[in-house]
């Protein structure tokens, strides 16, 4: 395991700050496209993480934090969509607009608002080269990004001079 050395804002190139910002904004860009099923934003985050994870630890941290924090939110939102569909299709089990449903809806709306607010804060911090930790998800993302061996992607040698 390499020693954990956190990059400081002045040490982080502008492009990396942009990539880290994009990791959070990706969700907003794709969430509306995927409605009513909250899946597209998650897929986009996975793809984004896959392609930029080897840029730097800083970018990796923010994109991973964005990705893993979206997982439970997407699951909870998906449950609400399925539950609502069941009510409209008049299923017997979970087929009622009862107090449990309304309570779930209200709490999920609140949770989504809180998540959006914190994501915007994190996006702003990332753009300024700052680390910002979500509760629970921040620790996991940090462990993965800074406490595991990581080598930034070196360009592979493919172009060679003609053979003599």
């Amino acid at each position: 395991m390499t020693d954990t050395v956190l990059p400081q804002p002045s040490e982080i190139p502008y492009k990396e700050k942009e990539k880290a910002l994009a990791a959070y904004l990706m969700m907003f860009a794709t969430a509306a496209l995927g409605l009513p099923f909250p899946l597209l934003n998650l897929v986009a985050s996975v793809i984004y993480y896959y392609f930029i994870k080897e840029s730097s630890r800083f970018v990796r941290f923010h994109s991973l934090q964005s990705l893993i924090s979206q997982i439970p939110i997407s699951i909870l939102n998906g449950i609400l969509v399925i539950w609502t569909i069941r009510i409209f299709l008049k299923f017997e089990v979970l087929g009622d607009f009862n107090e449990i449903y309304w309570g779930y809806l209200i709490s999920l709306v609140l949770f989504n608002i809180i998540y959006i607010v914190f994501s915007l804060i994190a996006a702003f911090k990332a753009y300024n080269g700052r680390m910002y930790y979500f509760m629970f998800f921040g620790r996991i993302a940090y462990k993965e990004a800074f406490e595991k061996d990581f080598d930034a992607k070196k360009p592979s040698v493919v172009n060679k001079p003609p053979s003599q």
Binding site: L76, K90, E92, V93, G95, D96, F97, N98, E99, I100, W102, G103, Y104, I106, S107, L110, F111, M135, F136, R139, I140
Partner: protein, 262 residues
């Protein structure tokens, strides 16, 4: 470890908000149910009466009527309450029965024809009385359209809105929990009146057997989860001293009367 502490806080926060919100909504509803006064309930029962009778013929036959009254009297006699139950028979091959409120039960003649004994009809009526006692219709209406709108329609008196309200009520089905409550009430009422609750299971078995027949479909459609309910009723433990007291009536004569008139 701090990571688990964070996870616990998040889970507690979400579930806490969920529970509090749900309690808020359930508290509101139960208060609202008490606010619908006697006059409004009668008004709603009357509107629904018009809806249920629309396009149908009310069935009159002295033999069938007196048989139904004997069954109702027995069910009501042992467990008297302030409610005056009123059963309306409607001419239809459809096999179904509906309970609304203020004691009103509607039974299609098709259902009576399918009952092989007066005890079977008593079991169906006991179940419907359960829906009335537990006020399931108001509960459903409140869930479907909201209490504020329900009250507004009743107090506003707009005929179009009232008609729509009636159509909503007629098309609604009771949910699984309500059916279970009505089953529990019905079984207890039958036991008190020395009628074996197995009669209800027998009736549902007949319906299941004839599933696919257009006439029986309506009852199955509006009373789902029949297998589970048949099982629950079949496994219901009767008191040790229980002894069924059969109705002393010629049920074949009742069925003949119904078949000859329709």
């Amino acid at each position: 470890m701090k990571i688990y502490r964070d996870l616990a806080i998040l889970l507690l926060f979400f579930s806490g908000i969920w529970v509090l919100s749900s309690l808020y909504f359930s508290g509101n509803d139960s208060e609202n149910l008490k606010v619908l006064n006697k006059h409004q309930r009668e008004q709603l029962a009357s509107y629904l009466d018009d809806q249920f009778k629309e396009g149908k013929t009310v069935y009159y036959n002295p033999v069938v009527d007196s048989a139904v009254m004997i069954i109702l009297d027995r069910l009501h006699h042992e467990t008297p309450d302030s409610l005056a139950y009123k059963i309306t028979l409607l001419e239809s091959e459809e096999v179904n029965a509906f309970a609304t409120l203020e004691g009103r039960i509607y039974v299609y003649t098709g259902l009576i024809k399918k009952c092989e004994s007066p005890e079977m009809l008593a079991a169906v009526l006991a179940h419907e009385m359960g829906h009335i006692k537990k006020e399931h219709l108001i509960e459903r209406l409140t869930n479907e359209i909201g209490f504020t709108l329900l009250l507004s329609v009743l107090t506003g008196g707009d005929p179009v809105m009232i008609s729509e309200l009636g159509k909503t009520a007629v098309s609604m089905h009771f949910n699984r929990e309500q059916e279970r409550e009505a089953d529990d009430f019905g079984r207890a009422l039958l036991i008190k009146n020395n009628i074996d609750p197995i009669r209800f299971a027998q009736f549902m078995m007949i319906m299941k057997r004839e599933h696919g027949n257009h006439n029986s479909f309506a009852f199955i459609n509006t009373h789902p989860e029949m297998e589970e309910r048949i099982l629950t009723t079949t496994n219901f433990k009767k008191p040790d001293q229980f002894k069924e007291d059969l109705f002393k009536m010629n049920w074949e004569r009742v069925k003949e009367a119904i078949n000859s008139q329709i």
